[in-house]
Amino acid sequence: MSFEISLRHTIAGRTIALDLVSDSRLTALVGPSGAGKTTILNGIAGLVRPDGGRIVVEGVTLLDSRKGIDLPPEQRGAGYVFQDLRLFPHLRVEANLAFGERLATVDRRWISRDEIVELLGIGHLLRRWPATLSGGEARRVAIGRALLSGPRFLLLDEPTASLDAKRVEALLVLIERIRDQLAIPILLVSHDRGEVERLAGTVVSLA
């Protein structure tokens, strides 16, 4: 299975519950805003500790509250593209890309910087500061930074949010390419039905 997730979490008086088993290359998590989709991603990445649950990705247990397993974020192997991107403002694009790459052991890296630059078409941005990038450029850099950290799986939070129609199409093509060419499972959060139907093998709804 690529993802086996069973989570319970109460935040601000609201209970989020998810049971998900998927063996698709791309699994989509859908639901109205405020349903807790980002909280789920944060739980998988290790940034939020759920009240209880079990998270297994590609056979590796990241969290099992009954067995007392709770890996810290840096050991989970998530390639997390945040909805708010979170590029490091004090580092140029090239240093942002290198950040996770330098931290990954050599055997964990499965794609080179040149391949990423080629795949995402960001060669002309390497010397730029994040503050000078457009929304679409910044998102591609954030995806590249995540992929270069040698992740075992990818978490994409609303990847097409705040992009115009032309950029959305380019990004969807890019996600399809990552899905079909790179051998890691993807969990995508979206509120766009059309986008989800086009990309995902498995769709899970969060009420």
């Binding site: 990445a45 290790g46 940034l47 810290p72 974020p73 840096e74 989970r76 998530a78 997390y80 945040f82 708010d84 979170r86 490091f88 403002p89 004090h90 950040f99 996770g100 931290l103 990954a104 500061w129 930074r145 995540a146 950290s149 040698g150």
Partner: protein, 231 residues
């Protein structure tokens, strides 16, 4: 306006005392600022209050407390003398300690604000990318709070240059040892006919303070790529 050798000595002593005070205080001040900005622990308010004490106490009282603690008969002072042969009272090192304690709250405040301004979500991003906590701190929190470190150092330096009450109480007013610029100005005012010297020393104080301010502003601009300002 000629500056005499004795006056140069006063300037040199003042700079040495202030520089040592700031360098000595930087690491603990940053650690305290980080604790107060990022951690919740029992006794946090008490620690915050203790750090701020020198800011609100009469400096003479701070000097007296330093005497109790770091005097030759004090618990810390006695230990330092027995272990390392280090005496602080009546020495320039004592003047540096007094300046450091008085500068600490200002430095902590400046650094704490800059650490609180570092977006925690960036630290989270670094963690997810594979950085253990210390590495995320070194590569994200520390560089992004650098303007606050420079601002804190500048404030601390300026405060140390002007330190009077705690210094004269704890380290006394000894020529060549603890008579820094403010103490020399005060001493000059007690003597008839020293008006010209007082004026010269006062002008030097003003020049040094402005130089510290400008230097730190340049430092911050360089480190932050002209995106941040102390002033």
């Amino acid at each position: 306006m000629g500056i005499s050798g004795a006056e140069w000595a006063i300037i040199g002593l003042s700079l040495r005392v202030s520089l040592v005070a700031v360098l000595l205080t930087l690491p603990p001040a940053y650690a305290l600022a980080w604790l107060l900005a990022r951690r919740r622990f029992p006794g946090r308010l008490l620690l915050d209050a203790a750090i701020h004490l020198p800011l609100v106490l009469p400096p003479v009282v701070t000097g007296w407390l330093l005497l109790l603690l770091f005097g030759r008969a004090g618990p810390v002072g006695g230990w330092l003398e027995a272990q390392f042969g280090l005496t602080l009272v009546f020495r320039w090192t004592g003047a540096a300690l007094a300046a450091a304690v008085m500068a600490l709250p200002l430095m902590v405040r400046a650094m704490r604000l800059s650490i609180e301004a570092v977006d925690r979500r960036l630290v989270e991003a670094a963690r997810v990318l594979g950085a253990p906590p210390w590495r995320a701190f070194l590569s994200i929190t520390l560089p992004l709070s650098a303007p606050g470190i420079a601002a804190g150092a500048m404030l601390g330096f300026a405060r140390s240059l002007g330190e009077f009450g705690a210094t004269i109480t704890f380290a006394s007013n000894i020529t060549g040892e603890t008579r820094t610029l403010p103490l020399a100005i005060y001493s000059g005012l007690q003597l008839p006919g020293a008006e010209a010297q007082v004026a010269r020393l006062a002008v030097i104080s003003i020049v040094l303070s402005i130089a510290a301010l400008v230097a730190s502003e340049l430092l911050v601009r360089r480190s932050a790529g002209a995106r941040a300002h102390v002033l």
